[in-house]
Amino acid sequence: MIFRNLIFFLIIFLCGCGQKDRVYQYKDYIFGTIIDIKIYGETENKSKQITNLIFDDFQRLHNYLHPWEKSLISDMNHAISTGKSFTIDDAEIIRVLKENTELSQKTDNFFNPAMGKLIALWGFHEDNIKQSIPSSSVIKDFVTNMPLMEDLTITNNTVSSKNKKFQLDLGGYAKGYALDRAKIILQNNNIKNALVNIGGNIIAIGMRGDRNWIVGIQHPRKPSAIASINLLPGWSIGTSGDYQRYFMMNEKRYSHLINPISGFPSANSQSTTILIPPSKNSGVLSDVYSKPLFIAPTEMKIEIAKKLNIKYFMIIQNDEKILISNEMNKVIKWIDLKDEKGITVY
């Protein structure tokens, strides 16, 4: 009897020797941003192979969607600016356009991908940001004729717009879209556990062994994390911040997150972070929905969060006070909190 117990014990031990509890990590620079993929519980070969599939798909997206480099979208923008219509033979891109229209309506146009021209005016359409402030008259003129997604007419596979100022900039959408693409590729290839980080936007697939994937949230003013959070299977996290793309002039900060109502960069927040539960377009939502929370006036932020059904959000305001939802407050783990009293929970 003891023999049997001993042998049983030994077998259990030997089964514990797994080769698959390693995490394989790959990084690449595509789409003007760093992509970081971690795969858990697969062989090195498979991890590498599937990651390459994902990188290839992103390269494809880069060629389709890049806001200012040569791409399908920039061709479309050019056609529209000359008053012409443009044919898109790709059903996926048509779907993307429609989704952007839908999302901008839902966010009361605080998410407005149609104002690429304004963003370019502020100098953000270059890899090296051109540091210039457009004249107030130019900005005013733009705001009066503010292009919106509803200005885009989509008939079958032809797009056109009466507003020549219309210029599509998917910078606030594409990373989220790429996350959803990565999710599909991983699913199709039977990879159950991975963490995909595209320019800071992250989705968690499965778990990291016997624990959840843990994500650090960047401090808006320090090169370290302000907090960390368990990212449950299928959940995504997205942040909009004034520390990513911005320039300083006369000690004032101008970020790439422009308020379509004023035409100026929104300055009431340092960063906004949201968690989105699993859904078909959760990646997109984690990218897009952080924008209205960042850009909208302070008194409207909570209302917008409710309207968009965002249960998990955190807004670090310009005065370093923090607005955080009750649900988010329960799951966030502070690493570098300056002042407990500066937190308001909703």
């Binding site: 001993l6 030994l10 031990f13 030997l14 514990g16 020797c17 970081d36 971690k38 963490l195 980080n197 320019g199 800071g200 936007n201 992250i202 990291r208 994937w213 843990i214 994500v215 650090g216 949230i217 960047q218 994390a225 960390s228 996290i237 997205g238 942040t239 911040g241 520390y243 990513q244 972070t273 690493i335």
Partner: protein, 128 residues
Amino acid sequence: MKKVLPFIKTIKLGDVLIIFMLMGLIIFIINKSWNTPIGQYLKIEKNNEPPKIISLNQIKEEKIAGLLGDSNISIVDGKARFSKAPCTKKYCIHQGWINKVNQTIVCLPNQITISITDGSESYDSVNY
């Protein structure tokens, strides 16, 4: 080697089984420890304080105040050790250099612990 004969007479089948099982266990555990990667960061812990994490990729002498006094920690070439300690037995210094993830040296009297970590223990990725 005449002592070997009585030994062989004593030993029985079951004994051999147990010896092999224990050796198997030891090999398994050694395998686990050896497959630990070389770490990038040093974690310094004082009792009841949040850990301080610093990079191993530098040459530095770090002074940490503990219960008895200051302990000096040397970081050179991706390795770390206690170079000076106010304790009496200096066990911590005698442990020498560490550089593999999870390797730890404790100075009990001064209540300071240094351990190697690959930095990812706090989080897997950063959202920005």
